[in-house]
């Protein structure tokens, strides 16, 4: 009975998600660079499906499906004209079961501070250091994230996924309130990422199930940090959780890569070169403009 109710709820959910897919949730192939035609083709037939449990014949024998996830492309190349890139996430998982996809960017220790008003002037107040914080975070789920209570069975023994979900900003948190716990500082950090388009939290909308496959389209902004991105799929069934992982990478290429390497591996040469180039440029223009 419990399984049947969950099945109905999820199919209703996915039907709603499909409607969102064709309208505002996902751009059309012509709107964004790097859109996979495959994704559009797979997504479109589902758009007209009625919101009924009967409309999901693939939701049978779901426990036999082995979860898996891929990211396309596996390497996002940031060249001189890079403006962001669409990454398509494709997952195999029982369509009837709740599922969540978490994408996390390169992780580093970050320090965050809050401004406070003192004698009429806003100045930096309390601060906190967040260890191993993600530089990018995207969460796609078939339902509210709060419903996913990962336990030991989810393969999240280290608390990694729970830790990542802790960065999702809580809309109910008063932004004026000074954080008193690590949880609140993480929410504040998540809000900062979101303001920079580096955090996406879309429960229910973009995750579409069809033929036991889920799709999510991830628009990486140009400000997305370079490095490895971990993609994790977790599905829940009666016997517990199943987890699958994949990854993709944002790398600099061409001139961009060469300049970055020079700046960090040969800073003296890079600095002197930049300066000489600037002086030469200034001299050339100054001379050209002042020819008599």
């Amino acid at each position: 009975m419990n399984h049947l109710m969950r099945l109905s709820a999820l199919v209703l959910l996915l039907s709603g998600a499909t409607n969102g897919l064709t309208s505002d949730a996902l751009p059309s192939p012509g709107e964004s660079p790097g859109v996979s035609p495959l994704t559009s083709a797979l997504a479109s037939p589902l758009a007209s499906r009625p919101a009924s449990p009967l409309a999901s014949p693939w939701a049978e024998s779901t426990d036999t499906i082995k979860p898996g996830i891929t990211a396309t492309p596996e390497q996002v190349k940031a060249g001189l004209f890079f403006q962001g890139q669409l990454v398509v996430l494709r997952a195999n998982a029982p369509a009837s079961n709740p599922a969540i996809i978490i994408v996390s960017g390169p992780r580093h220790d970050r320090q965050i501070s809050k401004k406070t008003r003192q004698t009429g002037i806003w100045l930096n107040g309390p601060s906190a250091e967040l260890q191993n914080a993600p530089g990018y975070l995207a969460v796609f789920s078939s339902g509210p994230v709060g419903e996913f209570n990962f336990g030991d069975q989810s393969g999240d023994q280290n608390g990694d996924l729970t830790d990542l979900l802790g960065y999702l900003p809580d809309d109910m948190t008063d932004p004026e309130q000074t954080p008193t716990s690590l949880k609140q500082w993480r929410h504040a950090y998540g809000r900062l990422l979101k303001a920079r388009n580096l955090l996406i939290n879309q429960p229910e909308k973009p995750l579409v199930g069809q033929h036991n496959q889920f799709f999510a389209r991830l628009m990486l902004p140009s400000s997305a940090p370079t490095g490895k991105y971990q993609v994790t799929l977790v599905t829940q069934n009666d016997s517990g959780f199943s987890r699958a992982e994949s990854q993709f990478e944002v790398v600099k290429v061409g001139l961009v890569k060469q300049l970055e390497q020079a700046a960090f591996t040969q800073p003296v040469l890079y600095g002197v070169g930049s300066l000489l180039f600037a002086l030469l440029f200034g001299w050339l223009v100054g001379t050209l403009f002042n020819r008599r």
């Binding site: 961009v256 300049l259 700046a263 070169g273 002086l279």
Partner: protein, 314 residues
Amino acid sequence: MLHIYLPIAEVSVSLLMLMAIGGGVGFLSGLFGVGGGFLMTPLLIFIGIPPAIAVGSEANQLAAASLSGVIAHWRGARVDLRMGIMLLIGGLIGSTFGVSLFAWLRATGQVDLVIKLLYVVLLSSIGSMMMIESVRANLKNRRQSTSPDETAADNQQPNHLTWRQRLPWQMTFPTSGVTISAILPVGLGIIIGVLAAIMGIGGGFIMVPAMIYLLGMPTAIVIGTSLFQIMFVAANVTLQQAIRVQTVDVVLALLLMAGSVIGAQIGARAGTKLKGEELRFLLALIVLLVCAWLMFNLISEPVELFGMVTGGGH
């Protein structure tokens, strides 16, 4: 609109927007003899460039723009080399001390506040002083139809002569036509060097009025001499930023340069068509506007109360 991905800043920005910013600030640089860092850095941050990268890269373009401007003024015999070297000696001493002071302020966690307060105090006092003086000089010129080359120093010389002439190590600066103690330009250079190191700017918007009112130099000579000093300061900052914190984005600097060197040339030519008091009035107006904007930022509630604390650069 064509966008370019910046290799060190790691963001994609509009090519035309960068060139327009460079051109606008370069024009002001050539017109007033100020580097424009006090305008350029906030504008770059506004369009999404990380602050540390904005400061480092802006210094690189500043070196190009100021050299371009110096050439324009040099050909017009409007650079006092002797005075520029005196200022530079002070600048090197001051900036060396300033870097240590900056490190100490950063350790206290309030360097942003100190910088903004310093800006407000300096800009409001300098801007007000220039505005009042330029209006007075303009009114006086209209009444007496005096020469357009008459300087503020000329107007105020009787008040300055007494204490300036009592100081030791008097030097003559023929290009500027003044005889003053070497302590004054070196001291001014030290103060500017400290402020430049703390505030991450060339210091022209402080130095130009100080050279006019404190050293008694003619406005036309001040601009070229100021650019001469700024060129060296910017070159030093570029090297320091590139070697110590890797915050110089050469692609960003190149695009800013392309706009600013052209803007600086146009500004330098426009400057020769304006009277000294008119130049000072316009600069005072810009200085006071920037000051008002900074004051507003200090007292109005920020849109986002939280911020990332970043390392490197300033």
